[in-house]
């Protein structure tokens, strides 16, 4: 009995024990100004909701080569509730860890027999925003056990590795200097919980991968390609690091 309790404690505490979570855990919205906070909270005026609305329409539309999402998944409010909070996750059928956009494309190509949706394309972002919004308020709970472990460790290695001409690692800003002012920004803890998000600077909604690529640019490092293993690995590390944090996708950022 005691051995079982220890194993259970190790299993549930695994993520927390392996990662030094910032204390206290603060979502990215807390580092934004009042106007941006108000906009994210506004269920009508949040510009990301335009992508959610389009995603809702696409959900019920038959694809070019197969059934609509709704045909298999029914009402997304029910079937997709809490789903994106467990991403990225290892997909047995694909044999690798995928993020939400990757999983959507796996369905589009595998089950809907249609051409994959291009990265940052309107339909992919719309479906991602729609599905992610069904997990608003649900604490992140990505698994790093079993087949996901190797990807998690790759993500962790990347997070602590100095990159680019500025020779900076993610942890230097987001673990050691969150809350500090950098030019006109407040450094956040770098959590993925509010993504995909509408970034005012982009004047559009974008994926977490787009935001991570902007981080790579920020340190003048070569940008990893959309869908690359490194970006997915980093997403998994970030999700595990933010375990327990509930977000409110679609977020708004300046």
């Amino acid at each position: 009995m005691r051995a079982l309790a220890v194993v259970l404690a190790l299993a549930t505490g695994a993520a927390a024990a392996e990662i030094a979570q910032p204390q206290p855990l603060k979502g990215g919205i807390e580092f934004q100004g009042a106007d941006v906070r108000a906009l994210q909270a506004d269920a009508f005026a949040n510009p990301g909701m335009l992508w959610v609305a389009r995603g809702e329409r696409l959900w019920s539309q038959a694809a070019s080569g197969g059934p609509s999402c709704a045909a298999c998944h029914g009402d997304a409010k029910r079937s997709m509730h809490g789903v994106s909070a467990r991403y990225p996750k290892h997909d047995a059928a694909l044999g690798r860890v995928v993020d939400l956009e990757g999983r959507i494309n796996a369905c589009v190509t595998g089950n809907q027999k249609s051409a994959a949706l291009a990265p940052e394309s309107e339909p992919l972002l719309s479906l991602s925003a729609f599905v992610a919004s069904q997990s608003a308020g649900v604490p992140l709970a990505a698994s790093i056990d079993g087949p996901a472990r190797a990807t998690f460790e790759r993500g962790r290695a990347l997070y602590f590795e100095r990159q680019g001409q500025f020779n900076l690692a993610c942890n230097q800003c987001h673990d050691r200097n969150w809350g500090a002012t950098l030019l006109a920004e407040k450094v956040s803890q770098g959590h993925p919980a509010d993504w995909p998000a509408y970034r005012i600077e982009w004047q559009a909604l974008g994926s977490l991968q787009r935001r991570l690529r902007a981080c790579y640019f920020g340190v003048r490092a070569e940008l990893p390609a959309f869908g690359s293993d490194d970006l997915v690995a980093l997403e998994l590390y970030l999700a595990a690091r933010a375990s327990g944090l509930a977000g409110s996708p679609p977020g708004v950022r300046k």
């Binding site: 009508f44 609305a53 004047q203």
Partner: protein, 106 residues
Amino acid sequence: MMLGRLLVPPTVRKGEAFEIKVLVQHPMETGFRRDMNGQSIPLNVVNRVVCRIGGREVFSAELGSGVAANPYLAFFATADAPGEVEVEWTDDRGDRGRVSAAFGLA
């Protein structure tokens, strides 16, 4: 057809101003941006928005590139009977959009 969202209260009081909110999905391209190849992206904005209730215009706007992408407008109207709020808009390329919502009298 452009995507838009419309928020109208389900019921309004006769003759009392009620707020209408519109959000349109549109890049409001300024004409000053360049694409990956250095080519200028042409100016294209939602240039006119019209709101009608029962076919009668109650509000309209001319917008320019000085309005933020995915334009948001909140304004007021009054009504003496239950009806439908209809909002239409066009952009520089001639693309159109339309949303509508019904309301009752409290």
